[in-house]
């Protein structure tokens, strides 16, 4: 299983490389022969990667990353391959049809997902804790994360990753977060997304290795993750009530 973190030098503003590291560590702990490669801007994108992780960043780096991915063309062939992609924040935006930067009100994305992103009115930013009830087909506990974005995304078709129960997500109007397909998990929950949501990490690993029979019992770190999840509530960083069963 080869996990590839794309452009940590461009798209890593919010601790995004953590997601790559966590997938790698968990895959190893599950007994997979996993490797982890960080691909910097200008390096060739490895064709033998199974799982690609793309993070968030500022406007300029985001456009450079888009240009590099477009020129490389590899991810564009996704439909005909069996790769998985985890895209966060700016990563979600550049995989879409169009996105916005301070320099360009409408910049073409890679067109891998049916998402259009526009600037939030009055240059507002959506910043804060967010909690998402994932698509029921995934059978996951509530997802929690931190969002910080200046764009509002609209799904032209397809399914979001889940329904927002606290925070904003893709846009003020829709109350959903991210995008979900058989090959792509995209979300605005940045940085420690997989640190806070190990079940999602395991789900992505299973998607990469669907035939694997490895049993996925909780790891030692997951006891700390439970502490982390309850800490967020007791610290009142998250305005979600215990009623949601978030522990």
């Amino acid at each position: 299983m080869k996990i590839v973190l794309l452009f940590p030098d461009l798209l890593g503003t919010y601790g995004d490389s953590g997601n790559g590291e966590i997938l790698f560590r968990r895959a190893l702990a599950r007994g997979f022969e996993a490797t982890y490669q960080r691909v910097f801007y200008g390096d060739p994108i490895p064709r033998d990667g199974n799982l690609f992780v793309i993070g968030g960043g500022e406007d300029g780096p985001m456009q450079l990353a888009r240009d590099a991915l477009h020129k490389d063309g590899f991810l564009g062939d996704l439909a005909s391959t069996d790769h998985q992609i985890l895209a966060v924040c700016a990563g979600l935006q550049i995989l879409g049809e169009r996105f916005v930067t301070s320099a360009a009100p409408s910049s073409p994305g890679l067109g891998l997902i049916p998402v259009v992103t526009e600037r939030i009115a009055a240059n507002k930013r959506i910043v804060g804790e967010v909690a998402v009830e994932a698509d029921l087909s995934l059978d996951l506990p509530i997802l929690t994360g931190y969002e910080n974005h200046g764009g509002e995304s609209r799904l032209l078709s397809g399914s979001p990753l889940g329904r927002v129960v606290s925070g904003i997500g893709n846009s003020y109007a829709t109350k959903v977060d991210g995008f979900l397909s058989g090959r792509i998990v995209a979300t605005y929950m940045h940085g420690p997304l997989l640190a806070r949501n190990p079940h999602l990490a395991d789900l992505i690993i299973r998607r990469v290795a669907p035939k694997a029979t490895n049993s996925f019992t909780p790891l030692e770190v997951d006891r700390e993750v439970e502490g982390l999840r309850s800490e967020i509530i007791s610290n009142r960083a998250l305005s979600i009530s215990r009623r949601l069963g978030l522990r």
């Binding site: 030098d9 461009l10 890593g12 503003t13 919010y14 601790g15 995004d16 490389s17 953590g18 590291e21 966590i22 560590r25 801007y41 200008g42 500022e58 406007d59 300029g60 780096p61 456009q63 450079l64 320099a103 910043v127 804060g128 804790e129 931190y146 910080n148 940045h190 940085g191 420690p192 640190a195 030692e220 770190v221 700390e224 993750v225 502490g227 982390l228 800490e231 610290n235 960083a237």
Partner: protein
């Protein structure tokens, strides 16, 4: 009795400030102090002055410019090192008897107003200024010199992205054509900020953190770094590292290509040598003899508790503050040289930044070889981070539990972020004894 009461009020307000964040706290105090300010004026009570200044700074927008009149001001701003460098420059220029300065952390408009209001007797000020407050402070109370050291990611939930601060600083200089700028052009953001400004003293003291400067500020192409020699340039336009008047390497400070001084300081770490080099440059440009600069920099003790050592519960603990990835990376590099056991504390209050994702920007690998205990309101965030980073650790719920987890007589290093560090300092001052 009176003193004791004031002390406990100080501690209580510290707690409030830590809980709601320094900037919000300042706003709150302003409105609360409104009545007290006018009362103190009306009754001519000297003790009300500070409160009054606090009130004035918000209610009377001219207070800052009024108090700054007739003073020569040096502002120091950066993401990291501004508190320590301000203390160093203050020491180099004669110490607090001759120089008005603000206390660690009081680096926003109200805190600066307060510091200046108490300094009728001193005409020179060395003032630490918060990065995002610098443009407004400089517009109300123009500085004679500004020292700009570095910009990197910090509290992104509250402070905007790094590039937009650089843009605001650039606009600030366009409106302050006459100000002399001491600029660390090792950081591409700072080189960008001072581009085209007339009176610049460019210097290179190094910059270890390059992750926030990977894109050209002028044309948005990639910036290439040669970290070995500390050089950088844009791959498509002319932007690159400008020539410097001063270059600092190791502990040697060069001026115009010639060795000027071996820089020393009583504070630990390569980053503090870099801060001391900045203070040396500022002092030398003001014609302070090099031996006086050296003796000022080698007789500093802890700055706002940072780097201070306490005897506590039969152990010895040295405290370090780090607030963001670049700051943590500096402290980790310094502590990597020892094998001292560690206590690591993380909070996520407003003043710390609510979002803890930056913990994943830090390489904790060098701590894999020692005992680590985690504490703080977000101890599980750091615990999970260390687990994924392969650093074994234990979790403690109190400072006493954390410290007594190590054998008696052990020397412990502690690193905490902003409000976590303040909490630890309060604990150490109450329960321990400062030894240096």
């Amino acid at each position: 009795m009176m003193k004791k009461n004031l002390g406990s009020i100080g501690r209580a307000t510290d707690r409030v400030a830590n809980f709601i964040g320094r900037s919000r706290y300042e706003r709150l105090v302003t409105s609360l102090a409104d009545g007290v300010g006018s009362l103190s004026k009306a009754t001519n009570r000297g003790s009300g002055e500070a409160l009054s200044a606090m009130v004035l700074s918000k209610l009377d927008s001219s207070a800052l410019s009024r108090f700054s009149e007739g003073k020569e001001l040096i502002y120091v701003s950066a993401t990291n090192g501004k508190t320590t460098t301000t203390a160093m420059i203050t020491a180099v220029l004669g110490g607090p008897q001759l120089v008005v300065t603000n206390e660690a952390g009081n680096n926003m408009t109200a805190g600066i107003t307060l510091a200046l209001s108490r300094a009728a007797d001193r005409s020179l000020g060395v003032i630490e200024v918060d990065e995002s407050h610098l443009p407004i402070v400089a517009s109300k109370a123009p500085a004679n010199s500004i020292v700009l050291m570095n910009l990197s990611r910090d509290q992104l939930d509250r402070v905007s992205e790094v590039r937009s601060i650089a843009d605001k600083w650039r606009v600030m200089l366009e409106a302050n054509r006459g100000v002399r700028v001491f600029a660390n052009v090792s950081d591409p953001h700072i080189a960008y900020v001072v581009q085209g400004h007339g009176d610049v003293v460019p210097f290179e003291v190094g910059s270890k953190w390059t992750m926030d400067a990977t894109v050209c500020p002028l044309c948005e192409s990639k910036v290439d770094f040669n970290e070995g020699i500390g050089d950088y340039h844009c791959v498509s336009c002319t932007f690159g590292k400008p020539k410097s008047d001063y270059v600092f390497m190791g502990d040697e400070l060069y001026h115009a290509g010639k060795l000027l001084a071996i820089v020393r300081t009583s504070l630990p770490g390569q980053f503090n040598l870099m801060n001391a080099a900045v203070a040396t440059i500022v002092g030398y440009e003001r014609e302070i003899p090099l031996k006086d600069i050296d003796s000022a920099l080698t007789s500093l003790s802890g700055v706002g508790g940072r780097y201070s050592t306490f005897q506590i519960l039969g152990r010895t603990l040295t405290a370090f503050m780090a607030k963001n990835p670049a700051g943590w990376q500096q402290i980790i590099a310094m502590l990597a040289e020892s094998t001292q056991p560690l206590i690591v504390g993380i909070n996520a209050n407003v003043a710390d930044g609510r979002d803890t994702s930056w913990l994943y920007d830090i390489d904790f690998g060098p701590f894999g070889d020692r005992e680590v205990i985690v504490v703080g309101e977000r101890r599980y965030d750091i615990a999970v981070r260390l687990s994924y980073g392969g650093v074994a650790h234990r979790i403690a719920t109190t400072y006493t539990e954390a410290i007594t987890a190590f054998d008696e007589g052990t020397s412990i290093s502690y690193i905490g972020n902003y409000t976590e560090f303040s909490n630890m300092m309060r604990f150490l001052r109450d329960a321990g004894e400062l030894i240096k």
